[in-house]
């Protein structure tokens, strides 16, 4: 999230594209606040949800057509001159010139230049800027040159007309126009709009491009880095932001450092050369990487041994190891064991039948969870004969958040500390205890090993505080934050950091091994005050005030307790707020500078996302997007599927792609799974005529273990259900409350029909297309006294297909059939 | 989908309302008969007070059983809430119970010792009569003072319940006299007249009740009335309460007065008793549905 939930109250218009009221109800209070102040709320969703109920206007769009929606709005803003020209010219790459060889899907019927049909991938050599003699991108600030990013963009989205939106998305033209006017019309120097998104955009085979399309619209309207603007990326689990920051992911190391590839990154030097850009803040990457290695391997990490770089596991390929890869490999017998720590893929993973079948092929599986999940009991699933399952399953009872100290990082990058409220009962332990104990035991087992590959593991430190069995989480936070590994002195010889003292800022990280940091963006979360006392800033609880409406005294937001990132963009080129109404930070000429004889400093209501003493008139003093090498926001931004988002239909779709001959994303990932475990329905399949989307309900939590098992929550919904329109129900002779069967090529579920006005059939290119919705919280376990707390697993319907950049599943749009009764 | 909830008073409460009404009616009839001619109507007076006692005895038991915990019945006796027909009713029931007990005791003493206690009985009878009326009528008023659409709009339920109490009491006394072989006496004739008169008041009350509910004109009251007149309770209401319980006995009773017959008297009395119960039952059931 570029912004902060509290700041939503300053928006003039909010476009919720996710189901925020239901899935982020607490954050939604700020949307309601904005509404009370007169802001308008738009909700874009195939279904009419509790967010729509709070909205001023609802745009029902067929699942999987988001790029047409955003593309249509980009086109509308350009055609009607509603974009924020000063912002676009100076703060984005709109004025940059692109290589003349570069062609877009407008010219190539759905493809970008460089497509190689045999390799099913792009040669990206033409996807680049034209550079001047000094290696800087050439630009045309008038935006007139046909090779400017702006003109290419304009041309690319000129196909995304109001008519096209109506035909593809199914949103009536007049309604789309009204929404576009409302959203685009509320931008500029004294207006801002914000957009929320979550899985509604991500869970598609063009998930990343969906989000880029949204981001481009926000750039075009000058909505990023400004109060009431931004991109509200609403995250999932209470700590999923923390999990991504610390990178419980296969492709990155903590702090968004790429996970080395075996072939591309043979040594630290190559890795750093390849992965460190020439400009922008990421030029500091070597400091972050070396400090990370120091955090991993401690004293064993030395300059001589590349700080232990060789001990790091490396990826053999970028196209491997994702959740979906893992289960396909498991099914294909490539994995022998599996540790499921706090996840329930028997219910939550796509193509869950495949996931459960894959678990049955393991030799052993360990489930560490606070409840006996369906994963732990996959061998008891209906239709499974326990005696046929050979997998040896171990269950470890764990302690949930309330039973342990630690921090959670919420959706607005806010790290909040919590103390254990109660002791875990019985044998339950915290995950940290478990992993440290396990590691220490393994170290004992491996002690004395002479193998080079074991050295790193043996060198790694798993002892935090006095008791090895029970790590002190404050010590863990210190390591994540980063400390001086030896005494650090300034050039006058004065001690700046004692050995072991936590660092105040990531600006103090070095690439010489004198500092460590488990996750550089968290530096500053825990510091030492003047008296040498440790101050855990994540535990501070000063509520927001009128003067500090962003509440900087509440927890610690990475980076550097900044609440709105790219906030340099809230001021104009000269450093003045774009308008009084929308001021956030500005350049104060009179403020004392960083040197006694200098004046001028960025001041205001947030921590500047910028060198606070960089004069707007100085070189790069007007470039807000510091995390990008070229320091500007990117309209042109190459991903695996192309530099501009282009619409392709979902892998399973009721209709042909109306924009080009390319039906689906040419680079999307489709797994070929043995035993026909991943069949897909063809375009316009008569057997699976309806679009289906899967989603959450406020009352339930994800795979349902933390809600279905709890009587008071389990009670809140009668039973597993499917929402469908009166029109479809009538066609199929289905009554509200009746049992129905929903089926896809992968499986079927029996659910209760909820016939509602909140679903309406779409008119897609003149034809009626029905969509239904099925929440996915149910599984075969639940509260015995509440039969409705158990239900079929929705993910038995979904497919093993993925986005080409991050391999996320496509569970928001696929095809199904619905039959009356239990069939 | 109505929000309103129902007390779900069980069948036993219908029995209580029936017996309470019967007791109240019997007591009043006995007292009036005693007032008019304690000798002439000796049988009626005796039967009336005994019937009142017999009908009343189960009443507190029913209430206690319904409340589950016996001691809780006493909680009613700790307050006096004039706004609450139930509170007033329970007090009335207590006083009435005392009067019934005394009246029955006096009657018993008279029967056994052939003493004349008519003065004492008169005093107890007059006081008890007032409470007898109260006990017969209050359940109807109690139902009227709820939010149940059938009851709250009916207004004549107290009147109706009182009339049913009177008709069923008269019928019960008539039946006893008939069975005791005293059908030919003055008392028996008078009590049969009483039955017919009470049935007329009962019929009138039903009409007023229906008209009142209809007149309320709200969707809820219309729905509630429909339950009774054309919904699931229509058979019980039309056949049971109206035809069998009111119209037929009225006609038979009139015929019986013209040309008295033992069988006719007995049948009439039985129909009145059954019908009277059904009237209360169906009002309760439809009102709670």
């Amino acid at each position: 999230m570029t912004t902060n939930l509290i700041d939503i109250q300053n928006s003039d218009v909010i476009m919720a594209t996710s189901n925020m009221a239901e899935n982020h109800p607490v954050g939604f209070q700020w949307v309601m606040k904005a509404k009370e102040r007169g802001a308008k709320l738009i909700h874009v969703d195939p279904r009419f949800t509790r967010t729509s109920a709070a909205a001023d206007i609802h745009a029902p769009l067929r699942s999987g057509t988001n790029i047409v929606f955003f593309g249509g709005m980009i086109n509308y803003a350009i055609q009607n001159n509603l974009f924020f020209k000063d912002y676009v010219v100076h703060y984005t790459n709109a004025a940059f010139l692109i290589d003349p060889a570069f062609k877009t899907p407008t010219d190539l019927d759905g493809l970008f230049t460089g497509w190689d049909e045999s390799k099913k991938s792009y040669d990206r050599s033409s996807w680049k800027y034209q550079l001047d003699a000094e290696g800087n991108p050439k630009r045309d600030n008038s935006l007139k040159d046909p090779q400017t990013v702006f003109q290419l963009l304009k041309r690319h989205y000129s196909r995304y007309t109001l008519d096209m939106v109506e035909r593809v998305c199914g949103i009536p033209k007049a309604r789309f126009e009204e929404i576009s006017k409302l959203f685009c019309g509320n931008s500029g120097p004294d207006k801002t709009g914000t957009i929320t998104y979550a899985l509604n955009l991500t869970q598609h085979t063009n998930g990343v491009e969906n989000i880029r399309a949204l981001a481009m619209l926000q750039l075009l309207l000058g909505n990023i880095g400004r109060p009431g603007g931004g991109i509200v990326a609403l995250r999932g689990h209470a700590n999923v932001q923390g999990a991504t920051d610390l990178e419980l992911l296969y492709h990155e190391l903590p702090g968004y450092l790429p996970m080395p590839l075996r072939d591309a990154h043979p040594d630290l030097k190559t890795y750093l050369e390849k992965e460190t850009p020439k400009g922008g803040f990421w030029t500091n990457r070597p400091k972050f990487m070396v400090s990370l290695l120091k955090a991993f391997y401690g004293d064993a990490a030395t300059k001589e041994n590349e700080f232990g770089y060789q001990w790091l596991p490396k990826r053999a390929s970028a196209d491997a190891y994702s959740h979906q890869h893992m289960f396909v490999d498991m099914f294909h017998g490539k994995l022998k064991g599996f540790l499921a720590d706090g996840q329930n893929p028997a219910v939550g993973g796509p193509n869950a039948k495949l996931a459960r079948a894959a678990m049955g092929k393991l030799e052993w599986m360990v489930v560490a969870d606070i409840f006996l999940t369906e994963t732990a009991e996959f061998w008891k699933a209906p239709g499974t004969k326990p005696s046929d399952v050979k997998t040896e399953v171990f269950f470890l009872p764990m302690a949930p958040a309330a039973e342990k100290d630690g921090s959670l990082t919420n959706t607005m990058r806010l790290i909040q500390w919590h103390d254990a409220a109660v002791k875990p009962p019985g044998d339950c332990t915290s995950d940290a205890d478990f992993f440290c104990r396990l590691a220490i035991r393994l170290q004992k087992l491996y002690a004395g090993s002479k193998k080079e590959r074991d050295k790193g593991f043996l060198a790694a430190n798993f002892k935090y505080g006095e008791k090895a069995e029970h790590p002190d989480i404050v010590e863990v936070l210190k390591e994540v934050n980063g400390v001086a590994t030896e005494e650090i002195k300034d050039k006058d010889g004065k001690v700046v950091y004692k050995k072991g003292q936590p660092l105040n800022t990531f600006a103090h990280l070095t690439d010489d091994g004198k500092t460590n940091s488990g996750c550089w963006i968290y530096t500053g979360a825990i510091v030492e005050d003047k008296d040498g006392k440790i101050v855990n800033r994540t535990a501070s609880r000063k509520p927001a005030t009128k003067e500090d409406y962003l509440g900087h005294g509440w927890g610690f937001a990475w980076p550097a307790n900044r609440r709105i990132i790219y906030n340099r963009a809230s001021a104009d080129l000269a450093g003045r707020p774009w308008s009084e109404k929308k001021k956030l930070i500005w350049w104060d000429h009179e403020a004392p500078g960083n040197e006694p004889d200098k004046k001028g400093k960025w001041v205001g209501m947030d921590v500047p996302d910028f060198n606070p003493f960089l004069d707007p008139a100085a070189k790069n003093g007007d470039k807000p997007f510091i995390m990008r090498a070229d320091l500007v926001g990117a309209f042109f931004g190459p991903l695996n599927d192309g530099p501009f988002p282009e619409h392709y239909e979902p892998m399973e779709s009721p209709t042909k792609n109306l924009l080009s001959k390319r039906q689906t994303n040419p680079v999307a990932k489709v797994w070929d799974v043995a035993e026909g475990k991943n069949p897909l329905a063809p375009v316009g399949s008569p057997d699976y005529p309806y679009v289906i989307t899967t989603y959450r309900l406020t009352e339930h939590h994800l795979s349902g273990v933390m809600s279905r098992y709890l009587p008071m929550l389990a009670e809140l919904h009668h039973s597993h259900f499917a929402e469908l329109s009166h029109e479809l129900a009538k066609e199929l002779g289905i009554q509200n409350g009746e049992k129905v069967t929903v089926m896809s090529p992968r499986g079927k579920v029996h659910v209760t029909a909820m016939v509602t006005n909140r679903f309406k059939p779409f008119k897609i290119d003149g034809k009626t297309v029905h969509q239904i919705g099925v929440p996915w919280h149910w599984g075969f376990n639940g509260v015995p006294e509440l039969p409705g707390s158990k239900g079929d697993i929705t993910n038995d319907l979904s497919a093993t297909v993925g986005d080409p950049n991050v391999y996320i599943q496509e569970t928001k749009a696929f095809l199904c059939n619905v039959k009356k009764g239990v069939v | 989908m109505s929000l309103l909830q129902s007390s779900h008073w069980p069948f036993l409460i219908d029995v209580y309302f029936f017996l309470g009404g019967l007791a109240g009616g019997a007591f009043v009839i006995a007292t009036v008969a005693g007032l008019v001619g304690s000798r002439l109507y000796r049988d009626v007076v005796r039967a009336g007070y005994y019937v009142a006692l017999l009908a009343l005895i189960p009443c507190p038991l029913i209430l206690i059983v319904d409340l589950g915990v016996p001691g809780r019945f006493l909680n009613m006796m700790k307050t006096f809430n004039p706004q609450s027909p139930m509170s007033m009713g329970s007090w009335a029931l207590a006083v009435f119970g005392l009067c019934v007990g005394l009246a029955a005791l006096f009657t018993l003493i008279e029967d056994l010792q052939r003493k004349n206690l008519s003065n004492q009985k008169l005093i107890v009878g007059v006081i008890g009569g007032v409470f007898g009326f109260f006990v017969a009528a209050y359940p109807g008023v109690l139902l009227g003072a709820t939010a149940r659409p059938l009851w709250t709009n009916g207004h004549a339920l107290g009147a109706l319940f009182l009339a049913v109490g009177a008709s069923t009491a008269a019928a019960a006394i008539a039946l006893i006299l008939t069975l005791a072989g005293r059908a030919a006496g003055e008392g028996a004739t008078a009590i049969r007249r009483m039955t017919v008169l009470a049935l007329l008041i009962q019929a009138l009350s039903i009409v007023v009740f229906i008209v009142a509910v209809q007149g309320a004109g709200s969707a809820a009251s219309d729905r509630a009335l429909a339950l009774l007149l054309s919904g699931p309770f229509k058979m019980t209401f039309w056949v049971g309460a109206i035809i069998v319980g009111t119209v037929v006995p009225l006609l038979l009773g009139l015929a019986d007065l013209k040309r008295p017959s033992l069988a006719l008297s007995a049948v009439t009395a039985l129909l009145v008793l059954v019908g009277g119960f059904l009237v209360k039952y169906v009002v309760m059931a439809a009102g709670q549905a």
Binding site: A21, E22, Q29, M32, F48, R50, S52, A53, D56, E699, P711, E715, H717, H718, S719, G737, T752, M754, R758, E785, G788 | L3, Q5, S7, H8, W9, I29, V32, V36, G37, S38, R39, D66, L67, G68, R72, N75, M76, K78, Q83, S84, M86, S87, F133, A137, G140, A145, T146, A147, H155, A156, G158, A159, L162, A163, A166, A190, I191, L197, V208
Partner: protein, 259 residues
């Protein structure tokens, strides 16, 4: 009596999350119960002995200011009526008015007669089969006497449930109606705010976005006990008729034969 406390439920701010419903259950230690199928997200048809707050859902096609579907959400609760049918009905005095103006049931005194259940114009009071007593929202009597607001209000993420002094809240609510009207919610109205209106005003009052009927609420609920006068008069009439009838029945022949 202290200044009257109230809860103002502004349904225009409600997002139907049901945090209030669960918070109430949790605080009051009301157990779970098998839900009803209501055809929507609502899990019970009406209040129960284990559900003192009930979020209700109504689909109203065409009712949004722009003519779209409206999904009206209402977190419903005991109204703590100034003239409370339940309180008046109670024969034991178990139902009482607190010094804050709220209506509460003393579980130790209640005898389980269930009269209050039928006497509430809003179907609030529910009978608990286990304890054999009548139950309903306590206005978090235990909390408000300890300086905490009601659990439901505390849990509400959007401040749809507001707690405070009644007079203050009414002023706030009136302003809110004006604002909403300005935003195109023509039907926005307060329900039960007027202390001169029905039931002497509700101490838990509501802002509705449509007519009360749309929410299944009585338009002009009346105090059931108002019937007592008329019903009693009719009963007396009936008693007089019966009495006179009896006199007539026994008099007509019995004249003079007494002796």
């Amino acid at each position: 009596m202290a200044r009257t406390l109230a809860m103002f439920t502004d349904t225009s701010l409600c997002i139907g999350c049901r945090a209030c419903q669960v918070a109430c259950k949790q605080w009051n230690e009301l157990g779970p119960e098998v839900p009803d199928w209501t055809g929507s997200y609502q899990n019970h048809t009406h209040f129960t002995d284990k559900t003192f707050r009930l979020v209700r859902f109504f689909e109203a096609p065409g009712a949004a200011p722009n003519g779209d579907l409206a999904w009206l959400l209402m977190s419903d609760v005991c109204k703590h009526c100034a003239d409370a049918g339940c309180l008046n009905a109670c024969p034991t005095g178990a139902i009482y008015r607190t010094e804050h103006g709220t209506v509460n049931i003393n579980q130790d005194v209640c005898n389980g007669c269930r009269y209050c259940v039928s006497a509430c114009p809003f179907g609030v009071v529910s009978f608990n089969e286990q304890t054999g007593t009548a139950t309903k929202c306590t206005f978090c009597n235990d909390r408000i006497h300890n300086g905490l607001g009601p659990a439901c209000a505390k849990a509400c993420p959007t401040e749809s449930i507001q707690f405070g002094f009644r007079d203050d809240l009414v002023v706030k609510a009136q302003k809110r109606v004006e604002t909403l009207k300005g935003m195109g919610f023509k039907e926005a109205q307060l329900y039960g705010a007027d202390s001169k209106g029905f039931l002497g005003g509700l101490n838990a009052f509501f802002l509705l976005l449509g007519k009360p009927e749309t929410y299944g609420l009585p338009v002009n609920p009346k105090l059931p006990q108002k019937n007592i006068f008329v019903d009693s008069l009719l009963s007396i009439g009936s008693a007089v008729l019966v009495g006179v009838g009896a006199l007539m029945a026994f008099r007509s022949r019995g004249d003079g034969k007494e002796g």
